[in-house]
Amino acid sequence: MSSYHLDHLQYLETEAIHVLREVAAEFERPAILFSGGKDSICILRLAEKAFRPSEIPMPFLNVETGHEFPELIQFRDRRAKQLGARLIVRTVDEAFAKGLAAPTPGQISRNQLQIPVLLGAIEEFRFDCCIGGARRDEEKARAKERFFSFRDAFGQWDPKNQRPEIWNLYNARLNQGENMRVFPLSNWTEMDVWEYIQREKLEVPTIYFSHTRECFRRGGQWLPVPTVHTDIIKPDPYAGARPKPNEAVKSLVVRVRTIADMISTGMIESLAESVDDIIAEVAAARVTERGTRADDKASEAAMEDRKKAGYF
């Protein structure tokens, strides 16, 4: 092999940096969706590589359901500060208050409700492009998505009519009100993400590593017992997501493989204490990472339907 040779991670890296710079050059008001999860952690490192020594030329945006793991929020805030970035947070609760969204009766997960909040933030800040950490290997509707994924004025994705995306000549043109979602990690797998975290020595939130946690069994998964509700005025946001009397609570050694919020994230039993351990675990895994996400299990086309409506 010649010395002019990139290994697979270096190839994925240069592809992603190229995408990020195209965004910076082609859009007026782009934002990076940053949740604190492992994929968006990689995006931030790639943004550093794309734009340093300048500042990362776009703010970070996060949509909170209100059911977040506190560790994740702390990590998110700290990382944004370290990077000197502006972090914009919009929440489902605020959207309720403003009348942008309404709670769905009988539905405890607020996953769907992130859609109007995201679209609201896009309108509020007039973002023309949102960079997300989604990967094609996560799910089969995602497997169909372009790097530059066009959304019409209603934020909708039309999977049957995507723009051809040829070579790395991304068509970033938009009309008023239209929007682009850009996914620099499109070609990365879960393994690539962890290998990159290892190579770059990136810090990740502690919930990715094994820890002891109270869990209960529901829908074939171990769900975390939500934090105790102490506020006597506000209603318990986790009502319905707490174990019922017939759902026994167990203290388990677990970690998360993919993070949604506390209601939608299944914990996996794991002894992985380091990034190396996680890589070994992913290598031996026999279920996909999304196999632990309650929100995807709803139906075969659950993700496709959410994406059409404007989900990330």
Binding site: D7, R21, E22, P53, K160, E165, S186, M191, A301
Partner: protein, 438 residues
């Protein structure tokens, strides 16, 4: 999925062929036999088998990810899949077979190192096999595999396999493909996909996976003639940090060749010259960098440079012209006609362009060019001449897939209308510009 600490190469390939030749089944088989299918995916497959497959697992359901695709049993858009063996990582683009979705086939094939064209052994070579082989050649995909599938339905007949092979060989010389391999297989049963088949004793070649793992791809990037299309100008403008205050870098992905610290470069179209002071990266300065690395170059001189400019070395010069010729694969609903104006994106710049002349539409029956053609309809391939509002700095696509490619975009709707491949320049940039002095 085995994990290894050695550098692992990435191979990108796409599968194409006509509807129902078995593309999706083949990818399902590759994933299944290389143990890249997870239990929950298997469960989902089994669930959908009960509904749609009468109990039979349908491997194609692994890649047909859209509801409309599963309902109609066809592939509409490219699906990307990922798997790894101890030798390599693979990115697979499962591209649609319908003529109607050729644009998506081109999307999936444009970034591939290798193309697999599937043929149904019963049907032999049909128009779609020719079309896809032609497109693979047009896009200069360096390696081609002709997968003669459904051999189980022709009794594993060596004669049939040869017949199909000979038919291909009769037109391959008309195309630009260097490396072609023919493999007889059954995607459904797995013969010669991952495991060698006992039913083809007359076939001595590798299995498909064996070939994918060993085909030589290191030289697929252009390493002759340095090209850096300027993507973004890096100016921190940081008043707090005096060192950063004056930093001025030129960021981009190297589209050809190698660049070294201290090397002389020319900036086009201005023709100004300078020297590379530093190859700046987040991980520290580099002594040299090569295609397709993303870097930031700091130059000795403070020259006016902006997005769309190109930095080049002094050897293997590119062309620079506003009047150009190209082959195009047309994807628009409305036909391509002379006199029409489009937006053209080439490397990092988008300019207006007007089509001045059109012809040589390629017939998929015999690959003959029809010089009398006056328009290109959707999925047609032909030749155009156009004038751009600004000169492009370019190479022939055959020499450099990055600086020889462009897309056309419709003004107003912003639909992507065409993939374009530039013909080689008739004259090169003259390297006679004066040395830049401050």
């Amino acid at each position: 999925m085995p994990h290894s600490q050695h550098p692992i190469e990435l191979l990108r390939f796409n599968t194409c062929g006509s509807v129902d030749d078995g593309k999706s089944t083949l990818i399902g088989r590759l994933l299944y036999d290389s143990k890249s299918i997870m239990e929950d995916q298997m469960e989902a497959l089994e669930r959908s088998a009960d509904i749609t497959g009468g109990g039979q697992i349908n491997l194609a359901n692994l890649t047909d990810g859209l509801r409309a695709e599963r309902e109609q049993g066809i592939t509409i858009d490219v699906a990307y899949r990922y798997f790894a063996t101890p030798r390599r990582k693979f990115i697979v683009a499962d591209t649609p077979g319908h003529v109607q979705y050729t644009r998506n086939m081109v999307t999936g094939a444009s970034t591939a190192n290798l193309s697999i064209v599937l043929v149904d052994a019963r049907q032999g070579v049909i128009e779609q096999s020719r079309r896809h082989t032609y497109i693979a050649s047009l896009l200069r995909i360096p390696h081609l595999v002709i997968a003669v599938n459904k051999m189980d339905l022709v009794d594993w007949s060596e004669d049939r396999f040869r017949e199909i092979r000979e038919e291909f060989e009769s037109f391959l010389p008309l195309l630009d493909i260097k490396d072609v391999k023919f493999i007889p297989m059954s995607a459904l049963n797995g013969d010669n996909v991952v495991e060698p088949s006992s039913r083809t004793p007359w076939y001595a070649g590798p299995t498909l996976l064996g070939h994918l793992e060993s085909v030589h791809i290191a030289s697929d990037w252009n390493l002759h003639g340095f090209r850096l299309p300027v993507q973004w100008v890096n100016r921190p403008n940081n008043p707090r940090d005096p060192k950063l205050h004056d930093f001025r870098g030129v960021s981009g992905q190297i589209a050809g060749g190698v660049v070294k610290a201290g090397q002389k470069i020319v900036i086009l179209p201005s023709g100004h010259r300078s020297t590379v002071k530093e190859i700046w990266t987040y991980d520290g300065p580099l002594q040299e960098a090569f295609c397709p690395q993303s870097v930031t170059l700091v130059l000795e001189h403070d020259i006016d440079i902006s997005r769309g400019d190109m930095l080049i070395g002094s050897e293997n010069l590119p062309g620079m012209n506003a009047d150009l010729r190209a082959r195009v694969c047309w994807m628009g609903q409305r036909p391509l006609q002379c006199g029409k104006k489009y937006l053209l994106k080439h490397t990092t710049q988008t300019v207006q362009a007007v089509v001045t002349c059109l012809g040589n539409r390629i017939s998929m029956d015999n690959f003959a060019a029809d010089p009398a053609a006056t328009e290109l309809a959707m999925n047609d391939i032909g030749e155009i001449r156009f004038r751009a509002a600004k000169p492009l700095i370019f190479d022939g696509y055959a020499n450099n897939r990055m600086t020889g490619a462009f897309i056309l975009i419709e003004q107003g709707s912003h639909h992507t209308l065409a993939a374009g491949m530039l013909l080689p320049p008739t004259e090169l940039v003259k390297a006679e510009y004066e040395d830049f002095t401050i």
